[in-house]
């Protein structure tokens, strides 16, 4: 049986057949037929954003918090170009998205038509793959292929550019099961010999460490469960990248905290001093490695990654295992158990004693104040007052993001949404709305800085319209805090353009949007205000006035190895040399 329908109807039908329940989007001339098809059905909910970048970040928040593919729909030209930042963000953080863009009719492509842009050309380097569909008969199959590519292997954003005449024309609908996807089938099972080599190393290692990343989250909840079982059974310490927080619970006794540039002292020194590094679903990002030449100099390294190009890209490893984290962990755990559950107990006891000494440094301690709110204190209170709640956290980018990663604890995967690879200021507010749409009854908090937050603040309108009660917890230091910190360390305290002048009154801004805002500057008022935010039934803007000149520590300065961390302001004088200053 063949089904004839218009291209626009095909889009809606294909989305339904792919299990899509919500689309984030913004209409325009080149997608009007699709919006007409959306108007005439009730299965797919459409969230009208205020700017196309917001649509992509919302789809990212939706995808990251559910494990499903996020979907966005935007028009041609400026609609598509506004989506580019979000696409790049999703590519770097491996978030599965399907983005549909309208295009001018096929017969006008290349004529510099109104709202024409070479969308597939512009988005080729910032998508996992993209398609320009020129025939309606191929549209539905392409959409099914797009979902397959977005979620298979290393997930990522894909884009389908659909000319307006293709939307109007009639063609044959292809059901998902009939779509040809056989050619793109990334390997999920790891090589058993390599996994056995990993297990052998684990049996004798004196100073092992698990170094896990976003790949564990992307692999699914089962992978996090397997990781937890493996860590408990072996008693090995575990640290994680920013993207991997929550795969292993922050309350777990083997948890060292986050590693990297603003990671914990014990985590980074364990990476430096280990004799076996087991990288599971992380990619040796430059925020993690510091100076490559001095990265964990005395360890054997094993790298599990579903993307073969991640292995040996930055750090040469002794054993590379290409496969899905969940599958590889399952095999490794099975082989390790079958071989007698061996670990080097004496070595591990000494290793944990060493780690206990590093932990005793208490690298996250800070000098509190009774007169001003320290940002660390604000996050500690937020953690205490929301712990145990059904809570999701998103962030913007900067100091507040690092403090959130340090001071908030994540007990489960998919609860922490942040822009890691691209570092996109303006990510957090729309992402929080995407999370809230997927989890309408949960507490969703965007930990923000005032400068990042302003970048996409128009999306408060979206939150109001769709009754998404997102909590905007803004640590307002009237500074671009991380830029200011680097200028202090690297540029002779010349604070070029790194302060926020002419800020809005956030309480009045909240009122203008029709929601509630509060401003707090006295530490004594903090708890009550946080509780008021949590209890408020609707979007909330929390203007938390914090210490203006606080720096984020620990910090590995650019161009330094893990064992040369700065723990506080006293350590910072002249630490970054010219070679480090050119790094970001």
């Amino acid at each position: 049986m063949t089904r004839q329908m218009t291209g626009a109807d095909m889009v809606v039908q294909a989305l339904k057949d792919q299990g899509v329940d919500v689309v984030f989007g913004y209409p325009g001339g080149a997608v009007l037929p699709i919006y007409d098809a959306i108007f005439q059905q009730n299965d797919i909910r459409h969230i009208l954003v205020r700017h196309e970048q917001g649509a992509i970040h919302m789809a990212e928040g939706y995808a990251r918090s559910t494990g499903k593919v996020g979907v966005a729909l935007v028009t041609s030209g400026p609609g598509a170009t506004n989506a580019v930042t979000g696409l790049t963000d999703a590519l770097l953080d491996s978030i599965p998205l399907v983005v549909l863009t309208g295009q001018v009719p096929t017969f006008m492509i290349g004529t510099d038509a109104f709202q024409e842009a070479d969308t597939v050309g512009i988005t080729r380097p910032c998508t996992k793959h993209n398609w320009l569909v020129k025939e309606t008969d191929k549209l539905s199959e392409t959409i099914h292929q797009a979902f397959h590519v977005a979620r298979s292997g290393r997930p990522g954003p894909v884009l389908i550019d659909i000319p307006k005449d293709v939307q109007f024309a009639t063609g044959e609908y292809c059901a998902p099961v009939k779509a040809k996807v056989s050619h793109y089938q990334p390997r999920v099972k790891g090589d058993i010999d390599a996994i056995t080599a990993l297990v052998e190393m684990m049996e004798t290692a004196e100073r092992p460490v698990f170094y896990t990343g976003g790949g564990v989250i992307n692999s699914g909840v089962a992978a996090s469960q397997l990781l937890r079982e493996f860590v408990e059974a072996t008693g090995f310490p575990i640290t994680s990248t920013l993207m991997g927080l929550g795969a292993y619970p922050a309350s777990g006794k083997a948890w060292l905290g986050m590693l990297g540039m603003h990671g914990l002292y014990e985590a980074n020194l364990a990476m430096y001093g280990c004799d076996l590094m087991i990288n599971i679903g992380a990619r040796f990002d430059d925020r993690i490695t510091g100076r490559i030449a001095d990265f964990s100099p005395n360890s054997r390294k094993v790298h599990v990654d579903i993307d073969p190009s991640s292995i040996n890209k930055v750090i040469r490893v002794d054993v590379g295992i290409v496969g899905d984290v969940g599958h590889v962990l399952e095999d490794a755990l099975r082989i390790w158990k079958a071989r007698g559950r061996k670990v080097n107990k004496a070595g591990l006891a000494k290793w944990w004693a060493q780690i206990a000494e590093w932990r005793a440094v208490k690298c996250l301690s800070y000098k509190n104040s009774s007169s001003v709110i320290k940002p660390q204190y604000a996050l500690e209170r937020l953690e205490v007052l929301t712990k145990g709640m059904d809570r999701y956290i998103t962030t913007e980018v900067g100091q507040h993001q690092m403090w959130a990663a340090q001071y908030l604890g994540f007990e489960a995967p998919n609860r922490w949404m942040t822009s890691g690879g691209l570092g996109t200021m303006g990510y957090g507010l729309p992402a929080s709305i995407g999370v809230q749409v997927a989890h309408p009854d949960s507490l969703v908090i965007n930990v923000a800085g005032e400068a990042s937050w302003l970048m996409n603040m128009q999306e408060m309108g979206t939150a109001m319209q769709f009754r998404a009660p997102v909590k905007q917890f803004i640590l307002n230091n009237e500074r671009l805090g991380m830029v200011r910190q680097w200028q202090e360390l690297l540029h002779g305290e010349r604070y070029s353009q790194s302060w926020s002048e002419s800020l809005p009154d956030f309480v009045k801004l909240a009122e203008a949007f029709g929601c509630k805002g509060i401003q707090v500057s006295d530490p004594k008022d903090l708890d009550d205000a946080i509780m008021e935010m949590i209890r408020y039934d609707g979007p909330f803007i929390f203007d938390c006035r914090v210490e203006k000149h606080e720096n984020c520590f620990p910090m590995i300065p650019s161009g330094k190895p893990h064992n040369e961390m700065l723990l506080g302001d006293a350590d910072t004088q002249g630490v970054i040399k010219a070679a480090g200053a050119v790094l970001v």
Binding site: V120, G121, R124, P125, K128, H129, L132, V149, G153, R154, H183, Y184, P186, D307, P308, S309, I311, N312, K313, R316
Partner: protein, 186 residues
């Protein structure tokens, strides 16, 4: 007669020569990439090389299987062994890429390039150009009283050598196809 000054792998014709001069061993590899012949696939491959700072010494592409809509891209690239491995892994993970072969390491391979040379001259130079063309087994595909167009197929080194010889004899233009390569044997 100018001396033949050709060292294997010493010349670079890359449009994207971004190599670190202090990098360790630089190797030249010939890669064969089988791709879906879909719109934009060549831009995808070239974009990968330019976007990640890899070198392209030579690149050829044409459809080789009309029914399967597959094209073969032959790309000659240079880099450290680690970079070469990265290039192969990055190519292999692209959605329209079916196969990546490193002909430099997968056993012996034949490499050929076709080139056209326009040489203008009179008298002794013209006779000398024709004599050298015979030695190099180049064919004359166009001739006037003042010029020849020679066609030659061979390795890039042979084409470089012939070009060097023609230069003082009135070489006006060269057109080269880039390398096509296949592994030897069945």
């Amino acid at each position: 007669m100018s001396p033949l000054n050709i060292t294997k792998g010493a010349t670079s014709h890359s449009a994207y020569d971004l190599r670190d001069p202090n990098a360790p061993v630089i190797e030249t590899h010939t890669l064969a990439v089988v791709v879906d012949n879909e719109s934009g696939v060549l831009a995808r491959v070239i974009g990968l090389f330019s976007g990640r700072g890899y070198n392209i010494e030579s690149l050829t592409v044409a459809e080789v299987d009309h029914t399967a809509h597959q094209s073969r891209i032959t790309v000659v690239t240079t880099g450290t062994p680690q970079v070469i491995e990265q290039i192969k892994a990055q190519l292999a993970r692209m959605v329209p890429v079916h196969e990546v072969h490193d002909l430099t390491v997968e056993g012996p391979a034949v490499q050929r390039e076709l080139a056209l040379f326009k040489v203008a001259g009179k008298g002794d130079a013209r006779i000398e150009a024709l004599r050298l063309a015979e030695i190099f087994r180049a064919n004359v595909v166009d001739s006037t009283l003042e010029s020849f167009v020679f066609e030659m197929t061979g390795t890039p080194e042979k084409i470089d050598a012939f070009a060097d010889l023609m230069r003082p004899l009135g070489l006006r233009e060269i057109a080269r196809t880039g390398v096509a390569a296949l592994s030897r044997g069945a």
